[in-house]
Symmetry: C2
Subunit: 337 residues, 2 copies
DNA sequence: CTGAAAGCGCTTACAG
DNA sequence: CTGAAAGCGCTTACAG
């Protein structure tokens, strides 16, 4: 493995000059630069990142805690997110370091340790929970971070974030359903304790009101778990109580799949008799039949913004609170043919 | 941020002694050790990993290339795998570094670069393909790696691997179905070009023969894509051609879900009229109704073995080719009630 | 059991 | 535009 020193000897310049050739090429005379570059290639030289990091005290590594899930709960878009995050990090010359940590405040010593030992420069948080304690903790410790997702039920956000406008997404789904002739649109939701659920629900309610559609309490159903069974059961209750329902906006693809199953069981055709939409545009959406209309989070953009915020020094006038618009992907479950 | 030097000054010993307190505590007199330990805690000292790595030229980081998937293809157990891999790495004092790379041999410069710049000590490969070029390339470059999955259609494996006995898993599924009274067991597979598919298929065939069950060519159906639609279509063809089929072993959970859908469509009850099994025990398996019997890969053990092989110096007599047995998780789709 | 010293491979003021 | 030198924070023979 060649070192700076060897390259310098080979090119007959000082190590400083080789370093400059790599990090500030404009400082070299073109002929010197070319000579040095040639030696670098010839010796197949690669700067040792550890030496560099030791000197600059920047490791160009970003920590991300791999979520762990209760049994049967899937994170169907995690591979999309990780891929996007990784790509965005690489575009800025960085990489993602994965780690595990206990949920909540118990996990914070792990974050602190990784940062103190200089394994990472900062963190990307996700799976933000209502009253998530991590953000405030990291802020207090002055450890750099950015959050994918707002901290719900806080008056002010405890740090920079990127998030998707769930209310906007659900409102767009309602408008699409209205345009295609639906007039009694139900909402399949999660428990009230979820800030995420309340956000999305509010989008459904606002859009329905705007369009003069009903928003009876009975049209908004809560599922305790994010499973197909729960989605199917809630749909059954909904249709039993109110046979006039002609569309269902589900807060997740999984619940939407449950709705589709219940429709099939009743001999109804999704997209014809009752329209259904999901959320996340997970791989499942395009794999069922009819394919599921779903609200897609712009993963690449999310990842780019996260890395941008984390790696750009705070600039007055540049907001570090960014709300992105999701995209409604229309398929057969809401628009047959 | 405290340094070794500061801790040494505080404890009134040399830096060497502090270093020993951390890395070889048995070398210190108990009272010295205690004094040093106290100073470490008091100053909240954490060794700088970059300095250590520069000195020892080991970064304790393992590279893993995040797979990217064609649209609609999900990797439903990737989060389980990553979580297990991360945990196993941490148990050995290491971490996972994520990166992206082009598929096949085009990606190799990325691997080489990461290793040359000392961002990682070695690699864990997965998503092994038939005639995968990566293994041989890394071996030639003497870059440490271990593979999750054999390289199919090679006579000898080009390096250490951990894999799951797909044939054994499918054979276990067949035996379970036979025990519960099934006598005409079909197999839902992928194209012949997939070594993985041939392995699993061979287990189905061997177990059927052993039990005196039919293995007609018409009982083994190929699906071109791993989608629910394809699984449903193949199941329809199968049942049309051979109404006597009373069980289906599917090579993936997705295809199994397709089979379940087709059974429902025909008014048949999965687990009663026709038994169905899947592969991977993905989160989907427990989310459908009836829940899906599936062949579970032992992710924690896989991850532990991978990290063990990668971090243990080659020892004569210790095999670095490890084939693990999957576990059949029995649910309603093959055993109602 | 403990200490003084060299060196891992870089970057960066500073001087010429 | 280029070079000599210090130093980032560790580990590790070596000597006492």
């Amino acid at each position: 493995m060649a070192t700076l020193k060897q390259v310098a000897a080979h090119a007959e310049v000082s190590v400083q000059t080789v370093s400059n050739a790599l990090n500030a090429p404009h400082r070299l005379r073109p002929d010197t630069l070319q000579r040095v570059t040639k030696s670098i290639e010839l010796l197949n030289y690669r700067p040792n990142r550890n030496a560099r990091s030791l000197r600059t005290s920047a490791v160009e590594l970003i920590g991300y805690c791999v979520p762990s899930w209760p049994d049967g709960q899937a994170h169907l878009v995690m591979d999309q997110f990780l891929h996007a995050l990784c790509t965005a990090a690489e575009t800025s010359g960085r990489h993602i370091l994965l780690f595990t940590a206990p949920v909540g405040v118990e996990g914070m010593p792990v974050y602190e340790d990784l940062h103190a030992r200089r394994l990472v420069d900062g963190f990307v948080l996700s799976q933000t929970e209502t009253h998530d304690p991590r953000h405030g903790w990291l802020k207090e410790q002055q450890i750099p971070f950015v959050s994918f997702g707002r901290v719900w039920k806080e008056t002010t956000q405890p740090g920079p974030y990127v998030d998707v406008d769930g209310a906007g997404g659900c409102a767009a789904a309602v408008r699409h359903l209205h345009e295609t002739g639906r007039r009694r649109i139900a909402f399949l939701s999660w428990p009230k304790t979820s800030g995420l659920a309340e956000d999305r629900l509010s989008g459904w309610r606002a859009a329905c009101r705007e369009l003069g559609l009903p928003t009876d309490a009975s049209l908004a159903v809560r599922c305790l778990e994010d499973t197909i069974d729960q989605g199917a059961r809630a749909t059954a209750e909904l249709l039993d109580a109110d046979p006039g329902v002609d569309a269902i906006v589900a807060i997740s693809d999984i619940l939407a799949l449950g709705a589709l199953r219940e429709l099939t069981r009743r001999g109804l055709t999704a997209g014809v008799d009752v329209a259904v939409t999901g959320f996340d545009d997970s791989p499942l959406a395009s794999v069922v039949s009819p394919a599921l209309t779903s609200i897609r989070q712009p993963m690449d953009q999310i990842a780019t913004e996260l890395i941008d915020i984390l790696t750009t020094p705070a600039t007055p006038g540049v907001s570090t609170e960014r709300l992105l618009q999701p995209e409604l992907v229309i398929r057969g479950s809401s628009a047959p043919g």
